[in-house]
Symmetry: C6
Subunit: 220 residues, 6 copies
């Protein structure tokens, strides 16, 4: 399915690498925004750990919005939906953390995601990237899918070094320590061709964060 990850003209679609009982495979994180109140919806039969990764990624973006070029009002006046196809396959684990964060950063900034890039790595709330397992199998899956660049934790370098050099000679690897390095490697400076035109109401000076209460996470 080469067409899937090559089409980077839609913000918020990022390629991750998963490791399942039947080997490595690529997976896609999709996000969408619609006018709302800041509700976060997660779908795709995600397990608890993966849901926590998504919530942690969102907290990071909120806490660092200004530096990352995100207009803070988007968190209060838009709803965010994160979906991971295929919808019937249960998924879990922390390794999609950086993929989810990149997908959210792309949709909030409307910046394009670099083509032929995939990634895997856990995130922490302060923006560290932690190593994950199954690197060899994930690399095989990425190669089969035509991925050219892989972003992963610097502590996973030793796992890459164990892969036969000849096998990965056409791929480049970004070894990162922080979330900011992930975004630098994965997001392009340019905006998608039909970006969302964000609409914000005039802020009521007496209110800090949008109308009504903080919306709960909707997890089905």
């Amino acid at each position: 399915d080469k067409d899937l990850y090559q089409d980077n003209d839609i913000a918020g679609v990022v390629t991750g690498l998963a490791w399942t009982s039947v080997g490595g495979e690529i997976l896609f994180i999709e996000t969408s925004l619609s006018r709302g109140k800041g509700v976060l919806t997660l779908s795709g039969q995600l397990g608890d750990v993966m849901k926590e990764s998504a919530v942690t990624a969102l907290s990071y973006l909120k806490a660092h919005a200004e530096r990352l070029g995100i207009d803070y009002r988007v968190f209060n006046h838009y709803d965010l939906h994160v979906h991971v196809p295929a919808g019937a396959v249960p998924k879990d684990g922390p390794s999609a953390g950086i993929t989810m964060l990149t997908s959210m950063a792309s949709i909030f900034t409307q910046r394009r995601v670099k083509s032929f890039v995939a990634m895997t790595g856990e995130i922490t709330l302060r923006g560290k990237v932690l190593p994950v397992g199954g690197i060899k199998e994930k690399i095989l899956a990425a190669r089969r899918a035509g991925v050219k660049e892989i972003i992963l934790c610097v502590k996973n370098k030793k796992d890459v070094n164990e892969v036969q050099a000849d096998y990965i000679k056409d791929m480049s690897f970004h070894y990162v320590d922080t979330v900011d390095e992930v975004l630098a490697a994965a997001l392009l400076p340019e905006i998608v061709s039909r970006p969302i035109k964000f609409v914000f109401p005039e802020e009521n000076k007496e209110r800090s964060g949008g109308d009504g209460i903080q919306a709960p996470v909707v997890v089905l």
Copy 2:
């Protein structure tokens, strides 16, 4: 029950194709709108995956409302109910995704659904249509019910090709890659004869999305 899917003068009733332990069968997605606050109610003993399909379909329509001709205010000032008869039969799986999305698009736009059409396919949040299983059994069920056109994922074409050509000579197939192609094939440009006359309050300029908080999904 030919009468069921032929009556396309009610917006929001769309014919899907399901695959159960006893073979293929047609199913109907029904939606209704009533003045409210944006609550989504799902009924018909739907499983988790099917509920996530409905939520994902709604997110897609919200994120692409303008392009699809949907007045955004309807999401905040009306409640949406999606029901799948028969009410006592448990149902699950992602294959009703495009059917649910078409049903919602019909009720929001009040456009008629094409007659004698049935469909099956998973949706993703960015609007891709994914292939599903049980195509042969679903085609048999569609034929028994008098369906003339079937909409399904282009990747399911190979499954259709395995069906005896003589058997499907009176049916036409729409192979689609995206949700937009589904809607183009399934919705007519004309409005139902007694369309809802949407009523919206004057928008309060200081509020972005309706009154009060984002309503939760009601799943029983």
Copy 3:
């Protein structure tokens, strides 16, 4: 308990027919309204399917309020409680659908329910009536209780025909296809003797549906 279903001077009390492991029996759907915010409360140890029937019935009435002579404001400014005695007996299934809908329509319009009438049938969101099981046992129960007219789906006619003609010679049967036919057969045009005098606040023009958020379904 002849007195129970004969007293039709209370809006919202409707006789249904249930089919349990020990045969057919009559049951009563009771509804009440009190000033509130649109909360729906369901009690009587109802199972999931029966709760979904109630929610679907309410959605139908909301979506067709104007045509059915229901003042829309009642949905926002009153709370609805549906109870099915006896309170300790678990009940489930879709066959009380038309009974629940009739009971709600009676309380919202304050119209009397016809005497000596009982009914059984599933409803769908678009207002179809679907056939249900146990017709023979239900008829026996209705006869024992003195019921004179039974409303049921046209597709259950074949089940009635299997009952010994002599046995049902004093009963009449309404075979219906839609919810509207049910209401036409079950509700009288006249109002109960002490109808609720609905009180509505002056509508705030900037709000579409009452104050605060859509109230959740309360199911114990």
Copy 4:
């Protein structure tokens, strides 16, 4: 514990009769009101059926407030707590229905409860009283506790008649068909000596029922 049910100078304390695996026993329903938003709290390790009885009793009082002499505003501006000691003993079943309703009616009207009275019976939403089981055992318990009058459903008369006449010669029985008869027999016209002085805010004309949303039932 004669002192317990004799002290009728506290509104909202009513004596019920329960039937457990170890025989009949008396139980006390206690209610309290405090300024709030209409929250209903239930405690005492109550089971689902008993919680539904409480909710049904409250709905009846709300729907008939005017006729019963209850100022409607109390439902929106006060919180109601219903507790059934002893707090660690699980309790369930519908037979405390009329006891709960009487307790609530007493606290809302601040009318005294008659002394030496106990009761048992299920309620329905339209105000019917239904018969319950264990009458013989309950009468024995009432007699041991010094109860002089017992209120129960007219359909339980046959159960009373089976009790040895000599045994109950000092007790009187109220056989009732409706909730209104229960209240007539159990509540005195006089007010408790230190009644709550209800405080209501000036009603905002644009709001129907208090501020904010309808409060949920709090069941622990």
Copy 5:
């Protein structure tokens, strides 16, 4: 740990007596208030019955606030947290009822708790104190901890009388029937040295109880 219960300069710390599988022991109920909306938080791995005790205690204080010298506004404009160390030990049962109520009364009035006092007893909503079990073991634990006075239900007097007289010659016992007697025995008239300076917003005359909705009980 004599220092623990002797320090009565902090409002809201009260010594209770618990009975576990390994004998009697003392426990501490801690409460804190912070500006908020009336949320009740319970922690310390409390079971259902113990949570209900806390909620019942709070209802009693709300219903009798004026008489007990509690400014009613504190219930709406402050959040109450009740914690029972040690945090990892599961606890349950009704016997901490009077201890919780005393702790809450202390924090709301900022009155000191008497030193060297411990207590055990169930509360009811109308303010009765009910007897509890394990009295002998609890007395032994109290004595080991240096407790001088014990408050318990008058109906537990017989259990105290069974303890060897010589053993308890240095302890005094308060036998109580009501919650008010507990507070009279346990709370000193004086205020703690650094009392909370309660801050209340100007009351909006159109609102009865604070802003927003009644906050739910937060039980983890």
Copy 6:
């Protein structure tokens, strides 16, 4: 991973000591703040007891905000997220209590956390520090990680004394009795280099604590 706990230029990152089935290990508590409504989010697969520790820590800081130099408005106008990597490892127990409290105090005050310090100890709501288990294993883990100072309960001193003196000759120990002593030992007076510039809306005089309702704890 020496780099992890040495970087004290980020507020809210504090090193704790955990005791698992495979020995002692260091763990990091991370907190972040973003503009919001006072929502508390907990992630990292925390168990019930650990969640209660977090909620108790937050209550302590709220109740003592003024004395601790925390602007009270931050509790209402910012959301707090507490995360404990690694995200897929289940964690529980009360011993991270003082670590969580220190992390929260750091983020709320933006004060730096002292370098090379680790801690372990349960907190109570009144600010006591309670002893915890596994001290020997925790010290070994701290030493392996280069920790120079350890904060723990004075009652754990006997456990430290059992460790071979030579082994800990390069480490210093802070034995504390209260939470305030923990903060004095762990937080530096200086502010992190890029502190959050807190933004508060003009307070509405009629409201006590922010807009809308108290936000619930979000625990996944």
